[in-house]
């Protein structure tokens, strides 16, 4: 267990970060110029880290798979970013943000990391405003806030429904400034294939130029991966098509431990699946739950009629509707945290109350708010989302249908939960360093701050906190003695060997020459994951899932077809490499889910629920971070290590959103 030293600084929780900064080792300005850092990924975490490290004087090599750093999927975040500014004078504080985040995470996050996150949250807002991020303002010129699920204060800063975009463009502009200054060298359309370890330390990467298909070697004094989550393991998710976990898997295979893979967030308000040709799911902002009411019919025959298409939502009168969230959670109603809302929808659909042709959808209805506030007010708030919904589904939510007994009926939206975010990730200590010295993981890619469930508007906060305010400090503690070491040459045998093994693996994939396209196997993987490792997990289901995954790997290894050549632009090859790692990732998720005999946050084991169907944690036996160590081959099951959680500041309780 010595491998997992979380390195949490001494002292009371509120002073840990200050203490750490006061006592950490620094790198003097001259030496910074001699040190190279590789940052893989240009999302919020990657771009902000690359920019900040460049500003400090380090030489940064920054990689991304897209054509530009600005395309990273952080850009798609809609809602906002939390910070404990207390501008609204509603009693917010660093402690309260910390507390809400830990509670929202179902008491499975590392306390010290979360407190630090809450602490630097305010700096993020200051930093972004200074960069010219156009956050929403009030008439007086002050910053505006909105509220989000799982909190009782308004602490979310936002820029229309495009907060992620604006924050990413802020980080991108800082990054661009450093590129112009020559401190950051940008490699676009490059994919990291392996991390190179020399004398036990991460010393470089092997990256593939996606345009030429050539493998290239890059050396540095430290490697930072900021490559996002693994949601696309499920094929259908709200992630971008290019999102993948290959870089993380490369680190995992080289010995970096993977923590809590079973914590996968399922977002309750996505547009339902419409057919088997679908490539991705579109998220409808959580903010819709402020004014929309979620329901299914009370009577099973009504649901049957809806599924058959003989009835429409508006044909079902008010008294026959079951607003199940309001019924089950009177205190929070439609604004319960994401995991709770998602599970409740699944529960209704499993019982046969689904409302579309597949039986996998529930209604999100604005009739009541439109009647109360008027369509203009509702369109003012959600107009762009309504338009987007109409463009996709050809249904205009909020279109008046009829008035019966003084109640107006409008066309409702249909929604269903979908994979959205992964709380699990590469294990890191307080310094964001993985179990491989010199290898750091930041943003969604690491596991640290969200526990078993992430609250809305916290992902942006974490990505930027890691990139701007945490890593640039903690990495110096590692780099401080590096300046005296000679530069590592890419001609060393370790580089040659890493490159050779990547090349051999690519040859293997190209050489299978089977019958099945990458996507067809990926879809199958998605089905297995959603069915057996999805929202409601059981022991039998997970065991079955693991069996199916094994069979799927065999199918992949024997029957994959990749057209084209390896030394040219080959999108199918890119996808094949991703898929190979998604299958391994899928097994990791299932293995972790199987071992975790409790329900918490995004991980719900049907055996472990209360009589009312709520998640039942087992703090006695599972109050730890589950970390998995690779055993040299994908065929062997990984080995579990535990990082016990130690809570000093917060009393661990059962989450309660009922009253």
């Amino acid at each position: 267990m010595t491998k997992l030293n979380s390195k949490i600084p001494e002292g009371p929780i509120a002073e840990k970060w200050t203490n750490y900064k006061a006592h950490q080792k620094l790198v003097n300005p001259k030496n910074k110029l001699k040190l190279d850092v590789i940052v893989v990924g240009t999302g919020l975490a990657g771009a902000s880290a690359a920019a900040s490290l460049g500003e400090m004087g380090f030489n940064v090599l920054n990689f991304c798979i897209q054509d530009s750093p600005r395309r990273a999927h952080s850009i798609a975040a809609q809602g906002g970013i939390n910070a404990a500014k207390n501008y609204q004078n509603d009693g917010d504080s660093v402690y309260r943000l910390f507390y809400d985040t830990v509670k929202g995470g179902d008491y499975r996050a590392r306390e010290a990391n979360v407190y630090r996150l809450a602490e630097v949250s305010n700096n993020i807002i200051d930093q972004c405003v200074a960069q010219g991020v156009p956050f929403a303002r009030e008439y007086g010129g002050m910053l505006a806030n909105r509220s989000f699920g799982g909190a009782q204060v308004s602490r979310t800063f936002y820029a229309k429904g495009q907060t992620g975009q604006q924050l990413l463009l802020g980080a991108y502009s800082a990054l661009s400034r450093m590129v112009e200054a020559g401190k950051v060298k940008l490699f676009t359309r490059y994919e990291m294939e392996d991390v190179v370890i020399i004398d036990g330390r991460a010393r470089g990467i092997i990256a593939r130029n996606l345009v030429s298909g050539k493998l290239e070697r890059f050396t540095a004094n430290a490697v930072v991966i900021a490559t996002g989550g693994y949601g696309n393991t499920y094929f259908l998710s709200t992630n971008a098509m290019g999102c993948n976990c290959s870089a993380a898997m490369a680190c995992y295979r080289k010995g970096a431990m993977f923590a809590n893979p079973s914590y996968v967030q399922i977002h309750p308000t996505c547009i339902p699946v419409h057919g088997d040709k679908q490539s991705k799911l579109t998220l409808m902002s959580e903010s819709l739950r402020n004014d929309g009411r979620i329901w299914v019919p009370k009577k099973l025959e009504d649901a049957k009629a809806l599924q058959a298409g003989t009835k429409q939502g508006w044909d079902i009168p008010e008294e026959d509707r079951d607003y199940y969230l309001e019924r089950r959670y009177p205190a929070f109603g439609n604004l319960v945290p994401r995991d709770v809302a998602s599970r409740a929808a699944k529960e209704r659909c499993d019982k046969g109350y689904g409302v579309n042709n597949t039986g996998l959808a529930v209604f999100l209805d604005f009739s009541e708010s439109i009647q109360r506030l008027g369509i203009d007010e509702i369109r003012q708030r959600y107009g762009n989302l309504f338009d987007m919904y109409e463009e996709i589904t050809d249904v205009n939510p909020g279109e008046f249908v009829q008035s019966v007994n003084g109640i107006d009926y409008y066309k409702p939206m249909m929604i269903f939960p979908a994979i959205h975010y992964t709380m699990g990730g590469i294990w890191v200590d307080y310094e964001l360093q993985t179990t491989i010295p010199g290898l750091f993981a930041i943003g969604e890619c690491n596991f640290s701050d969200h526990g078993a469930n992430r609250l809305g508007a916290s992902a942006l906060m974490q990505g930027l906190a890691d990139g701007y305010f945490v890593l640039p400090y903690t990495i110096q503690n590692y780099l401080s003695d590096q300046a005296v070491w000679p530069k590592v040459s890419t001609d060393l045998p370790e580089f040659a060997e890493a490159e050779k093994s990547v090349d051999a693996e690519i040859d293997r994939l190209m050489g299978i020459q089977g019958k099945r396209s990458v996507d067809s196997i990926h879809k199958e993987l998605g089905h297995i994951m959603w069915e057996h490792v999805g929202m409601g997990r059981t022991k039998e289901g997970l065991e079955e899932g693991l069996k199916l995954l094994k069979a799927l790997r065999k199918e992949f290894n024997e029957n994959l077809f990749v057209p084209g050549k390896k030394d040219e632009l080959n999108t199918e090859l890119d996808k094949a490499i991703h898929l190979r790692d998604f299958i391994t990732m899928g097994e990791l998720v299932a293995t972790d889910a199987l071992h975790r005999e409790e329900s918490c946050g995004g991980h719900f084991r049907e055996e472990h629920q209360t009589e009312e169907g709520e998640a039942k944690r087992d703090d006695e036996n599972f109050f730890y971070v589950g970390c998995w160590e690779y055993q040299g081959t994908d065929e062997k099951a990984p080995v579990l290590h535990k990082e016990p959680l130690e809570y000093e500041a917060i009393k661990v309780q059962t989450r309660n959103y009922k009253n």
């Binding site: 054509d67 700096n123 400034r177 463009e391 084209g564």
Partner: protein, 252 residues
């Protein structure tokens, strides 16, 4: 309820920037009209791969209209025709008629060389931003966010400018291959905010110079860019850019 349509797709194949390129055609049968355009291309690629052919290459990523990666010129319109303007990924097959022919081309502009098929190199946009599309602040401890008061109207207008996703449709539609709408959006965003003021003159000169250097054309105010912008950026931004530029030049 979704109905199915069949049509002919004519798609551009080009092996690298120097290749001449040509169209290939494929018959698409019974595509549900609630399929998105890119999902339809996924189906096309599945069918091509099944026939042992190489897939059709195009850029795409988030598929929800925000990353700016998708970039197809469909039937004479960058991103294809929609009601209010949207990216290629937000285009659905119900906008096409049964039995029609759909022609898919890449962005064609000298500053955006083709990498393969309909995938083009838009790194010129990054280079323009690198020339000055930022405020020079270091990560650290700037003043409190509320220390700078910004009138709501200015903040909202800056937000509208900042909405640009850098997809390049403006350049693709422009008969002059001009990037003015793109750069004016960034210049406008920062010109409208007090944070951008100290460097305003330097920024606009540097960005315009970089744009010219990279071989983009000149703006002749045809407004084609505005007509195809999926994020509805307006040429009012270009007027502001011109104003900022003249102001900056006048100071020299």
């Amino acid at each position: 309820m979704a109905k199915n349509i069949s049509f002919t797709i004519k798609y551009w194949k080009q092996n690298g920037p120097k290749d001449k390129g040509h169209f290939d055609t494929h018959e698409m049968k019974n595509i549900p009209d609630d399929t998105s355009f890119l999902e339809m291309l996924d189906i096309l690629n599945e069918e091509l791969i099944e026939e042992g052919k190489e897939p059709f290459v195009f850029d795409h990523d988030c598929r929800e209209g925000i990353c700016g990666m998708c970039s197809l010129y469909i039937n004479g319109t960058p991103h294809g025709k929609t009601a209010t303007g949207a990216t290629t990924c937000q285009l659905y097959m119900r906008r096409f008629k049964d039995g029609c022919t759909i022609t898919v081309e890449p962005w064609r502009s000298a500053a955006f060389p083709v990498i393969k098929d309909c995938m083009v190199d838009r790194s010129a946009f990054d280079k323009i931003i690198q020339a000055g599309g930022y405020t020079s602040v270091r990560t650290g401890q700037p003043q409190d966010a509320n220390a700078i008061l910004i009138p709501k109207q200015d903040a909202d207008e800056a937000m509208d400018c900042a909405t640009c996703i850098g997809c390049g449709a403006c350049v693709a539609a422009c008969k002059n291959g001009s990037a003015m709408l793109f750069i004016s959006s960034k210049v406008s965003q920062l010109a409208l905010l007090p944070q951008g003021k100290p460097e305003a003159a330097k920024r606009v000169k540097a960005m315009v110079a970089r744009m010219d250097e990279l071989g983009f054309g000149n703006c002749t105010n045809t407004r084609a860019c505005e007509a195809v912008c999926p994020k509805n950026e307006t040429i009012a931004n270009i007027a502001r850019l011109n104003r900022e530029f003249l102001k900056a030049k006048a100071k020299d």
